[in-house]
């Protein structure tokens, strides 16, 4: 039986989702693809659990949640963290789910480069390094002859990157217009249905855990702008970085604006536009009942192609297992190619 030894870096919501999804799907993967997935290390920001013979996925989650640190994992808990984890154990594939950092792109950038140099494949949900250094990092993967996949970085469970590249491979992509941030879509949807103000709705979203304590990345459009850059580079071949995107968030949207739009048959959505002439994230008016009329934390994107016309995809843009599902799909496609 072939084996794929995995390191999970980052053990927050997405990291735990990875562990859970592996626990749920490893039997299916073994059965269908003839490869056994084995988590040999998992690391949070300051500690890890490492065992060459494999770790119990659900026990990792339990240890993290009961003690707050992976070092509490029975027998195999360790104080090794960061880049050192990649030297502490033999592995084949890095699943990288550390928090996005749009200024330095760390720790994702160093971890990814190190894994590439070690000749390992990488699957990521991180946006920081892709938004700032897309070219550098994809070239490094090529130079080292390894696989680098990042479906989960855009739209969570909504299929878009692999979908456009593989399912729509006969088509040229002219533009992509979509809702790429679930938090702001939730806030705007609630403001529309409840008639509430921005501040109150934001507070409610924070209480529900949909918006983060510091909501800046979401509400100011930074998160959607990172995804805009990733789509521009990966699907339209535009050599862009974060600074090339014109970004406006939703914090200035008044409930009056939502009411006036509503009266005229429109909704207000935070829309990302990716085309050779325009890289933009801004609040826009969309027709009620149109394909852009999706509410809650859903994401959607309309891909304008030369042969197939407009193709629209939709799915949950965030969430632990949902994001992990996209990463596991990336892992499976690597298994299919290389194992």
């Amino acid at each position: 039986m072939k084996e794929c030894k995995i390191i999970i870096m980052g053990f927050g919501s997405v990291g735990q989702g990875i562990a859970q999804s592996i626990a749920l799907k490893k039997a299916m993967i073994k059965d269908k693809y003839g490869v056994e997935l084995k988590v040999v290390a998992a690391a949070d920001s300051s500690s890890s659990a490492i065992n060459q013979d494999g770790l119990e996925e659900m026990l990792l989650i339990h240890s993290k949640n009961s003690e707050g640190k992976l070092s509490s994992y029975p027998d195999y808990g360790s104080e090794v963290s960061g880049l050192d984890v990649l030297d502490a154990v033999e592995y084949d594939l890095l699943m990288e789910a550390t928090p996005t950092n749009i200024e330095t792109a760390e720790p994702a950038l160093s971890l990814t480069h190190k894994a590439f140099k070690q000749g390992k494949d990488v699957v990521t949900s991180n946006k920081g390094h892709l938004a700032i250094k897309f070219k550098e990092i994809t070239k490094a993967a090529e130079d080292n002859g390894v696989e680098f996949k990042y479906e989960a970085s855009v739209g969570g469970a909504m299929p878009i990157i692999n979908f456009s590249r593989e399912t729509l491979s006969s088509c040229g992509i002219k533009s992509i217009i979509g809702i790429l941030n679930g938090t702001t879509n939730y806030i705007l949807s609630r403001m529309t249905s409840e008639g509430s103000t921005y501040d109150i709705t934001l507070k409610e979203s924070q209480e529900l855990g949909i918006a983060e304590t510091d909501p800046t990345q979401d509400v100011e459009g930074i998160d959607a702008a990172c995804k805009t850059v990733i789509l521009a580079n990966s699907l339209l071949g535009i050599d862009a970085t974060y600074d090339d995107v014109e970004v406006n968030g939703i914090s200035n949207i008044t409930s009056h604006a939502i009411n006036l739009a509503d009266k005229d048959g429109y909704l207000i959505k935070l829309i990302a536009e990716v085309s050779p002439n325009t890289l933009k994230v801004s609040p826009r008016l969309v027709k009620k009942g149109s394909t852009y009329d999706v509410s809650g934390t859903l994401n959607m994107a309309t891909i304008k192609t030369d042969l197939a016309g407009d193709v629209t995809v939709m799915g949950l843009g965030a969430g632990s297992l949902e994001t992990a599902s996209a990463m596991l799909t990336d892992v499976i496609s690597i298994l299919k190619d290389k194992y």
């Binding site: 009056h256 005229d264 429109y266 826009r284 969309v286």
Partner: protein, 161 residues
């Protein structure tokens, strides 16, 4: 019956033929064609003036066929085809001279304010929904020009997708 149309075509070979070719097949006769190749509009398209003759039903079929082909009909029997667009402005709209804002928009070529709905919020920023009537094909021009006026007055503009 006679019908006068002004179309806009891309400046690439074969465009004019592809538009003229279906006319006779649909039971209409071509009376005149004026192809103004020197007067490109801002989209780089060329206006073509057609006069057709035929039964009303057949002329309608020509119009349908043009629509199917995605040909822009900007004028029919002297009446300009119009589009309606909406935009929302947020900011100190009244303080920044709301009259001047609408005047400036109305002064733009082929663009008219046909609706204006404003909500005031005390000292806070106000919000206005503006409905615009725009000559066919001038949508992007309208958004770009109104954006300039909004930027001048530090107003946030929310446009249609």
């Amino acid at each position: 019956m006679r019908m006068n149309l002004v179309l806009e075509l891309l400046d690439v070979p074969g465009q004019l033929v592809s538009v003229l070719e279906p006319i006779s097949g649909l039971g209409a006769n071509l009376v005149t064609v004026i192809h103004k190749r020197d007067s490109k509009n801002e989209n780089g398209k060329i206006p073509v003036q057609l006069t057709l003759e035929g039964e009303q039903e057949n002329l309608n079929r020509v119009i349908d066929r043009f629509n199917e082909l995605g040909v822009d009909i900007i004028e029919k029997d002297g009446v300009i085809n119009k589009e309606f667009i909406s935009t929302i402005l947020i900011g100190h709209i009244v303080d920044k001279d709301v009259r001047d804002t609408t005047d400036k928009i109305n002064a733009l070529d082929g663009i008219y304010v046909v609706g204006f709905d404003i909500k005031l919020d005390g000292e806070d920023k106000s919000t206005a929904l503006i409905n615009l009537e725009v000559a066919y094909g001038k949508k992007q021009f309208a958004f770009d020009e109104v954006k300039k006026i909004a930027d001048e007055k530090d107003l946030l503009m929310i446009n249609e997708v």
